[in-house]
Symmetry: C2
Subunit: 309 residues, 2 copies
């Protein structure tokens, strides 16, 4: 590869929430870039054509990538290896291969194994909603969100720069870090929160002495917040936990230690320990809002709270 | 008490998020009802006068309740007994005493001990935001939310009816149940979710290998949802856990059992077990939205997601 590659044609493999949003974001922010796309599900391809998620929806992954200088794999992390194999023979030699997976070391390994001679720059835009599929994407998903690139040490600087500029162009902030560190950070900020949310929603569904109807009626006490996250795509999240096992188990261990300490404080009636923790945790919320990573309005500005919104 | 009492004057003790919202909701929905209020904090009383949270803010609890036929205690549940003692001598004989506390058996006991000769109907409007204090209240807080009354078996039917009508008038749906069952239900739908949120935010704050700055930057992966709940009022929540200890510990035990099972599935690489749970939990979200207990828009309709809202 000589000089800094300019990305003129992006192929998107997988046209769900993330893939669809990338296509729409390119159309909004960088309409000069051509886009092609493919999804293994014919119904998703049909919907993608209808919503014009990309310029051209092709009926095979090979056709979709044939003229691309950037290929973004937007499939569950457990399917990355298969997706890479499917495009292997059709890939232009100079194309950059990237992805949007939530765990990075395993994706890097899978892509390297399938495409040993290509330029691979794994990426993770930290953005999403609880919805999934070709109906769920929207052009603004990545605006003011961080996109983490985890290039290997020997990745060509020009390719990393080109991918950084691509994501910046869609409205993201870009950060580089090692895959292993990424997996630890995201275990805390994303994977464990999802695991906890899935668990409490599961626990509440299985109770005998509290009915499901009661759980639903009184969910505004806090529970409903967890149900949003626990409505996320099951296949995507299964794969995240299977592929980021070590970091997830490590962080889960720390969480359960802290929960046990709190349980003990409740059992012993140690109000000061509870009050101290509950005071400390307010500061992080303030920082998140100050740094534009959440809505400052009470209750996320949910529509049922006031006639104003 | 003879005949069905008509509530014409409500005294609100404690003018934070809940007390202030009740005052504003009465002004909006039932402007014929007179309102007086008191808060132990002079700055809160001043702010309450400025925002006109109630018709008249008095400088003592006794003055505030002197002419009331309904007194609503809107203080942390650990302070209910003190608040009841403070109004004891000034209470009109026929007044109904109620509250908004999140645990009900302990409040019923505390009120009964302080006011053995009065008509006590504990209540819990299942509504709130992460904000607190006299600036936080708004008139619509209770609309489409459930308010649970936990009258003792010997509570006068007319008083229960009057209080039900009062809450219905503010836009709430009203349900009656026993205090003990309430405490179990709310342990699941509110107390454990708060405890878990406080814990994970605390865990994330204390890490050494992941910086606080990283936690904040990548919080949109799910973590930020928990920080909202973990920004709730520390004193209120300390008291909830101290006063609903048994139900909280019981439900916490079930949650940690389920979490341990999930941890084992991850360690063993049991993708099917993960996928099954992650699929099951989607149904509850749908029901909550169908029953008007949450915003159907992706990501709660947060403002940063699209130009539309």
């Amino acid at each position: 590869m000589s000089g800094t590659p300019v990305i003129q044609h992006v192929a998107i493999i997988g046209l769900g929430l993330l893939g669809g949003s990338i296509g729409l974001a390119i159309a909004k922010h960088a309409p000069g870039i051509a886009t092609t796309g493919y999804d293994t599900d014919p119904a998703t391809r049909e919907k993608a054509r209808e919503r014009e998620l990309v310029g051209t929806v092709l009926d095979s992954a090979a056709e979709a990538v044939a003229a691309a200088d950037l290929v973004i794999l937007c499939v569950p992390v457990g399917a990355m290896g298969f997706a890479a194999e499917a495009i292997c023979d059709a890939l232009p030699a100079g194309a950059i291969i990237s992805d949007v997976g939530s765990s990075k070391q395993s994706v890097a390994d899978a892509l390297k194994a399938a495409l040993p001679d290509h330029c691979i720059i794994p990426a993770h835009p930290v953005a999403g909603t609880e919805q999934s599929g070709p109906d769920a994407g929207f052009a603004e998903l990545f605006e003011h969100r961080w996109c983490i690139l985890t290039p290997a040490d020997d990745a060509p600087t020009e390719a990393v720069d080109a991918l950084s500029r691509f994501w910046t162009g869609l409205g993201s902030n870009v950060e580089l870090m090692g895959a292993e560190h990424h997996d630890l950070v995201l275990a805390v900020t994303s994977h464990i929160p999802h695991l906890i949310a899935y668990t409490i929603v599961g626990t509440a569904s299985d109770l005998e002495d509290v009915t499901r109807s009661e759980v639903i009626k009184y969910s505004a006490g806090g529970f409903r917040d967890f149900t949003r996250i626990a409505a996320s795509d099951p296949t995507m999240w299964r794969d995240v936990f299977l592929t980021n096992k070590d970091a997830v188990l490590e962080m889960l261990g720390r969480f359960t230690e802290d929960l046990t300490a709190l349980q003990r404080a409740i059992r012993r009636g140690d109000g000061d320990a509870l009050h101290d923790l509950f005071t400390k945790t307010r500061a992080i919320r303030r920082s998140i809002i100050e740094q534009g990573q959440d809505d400052a309005r009470p209750d996320f500005g949910r529509s049922d709270h006031s006639g104003d919104h």
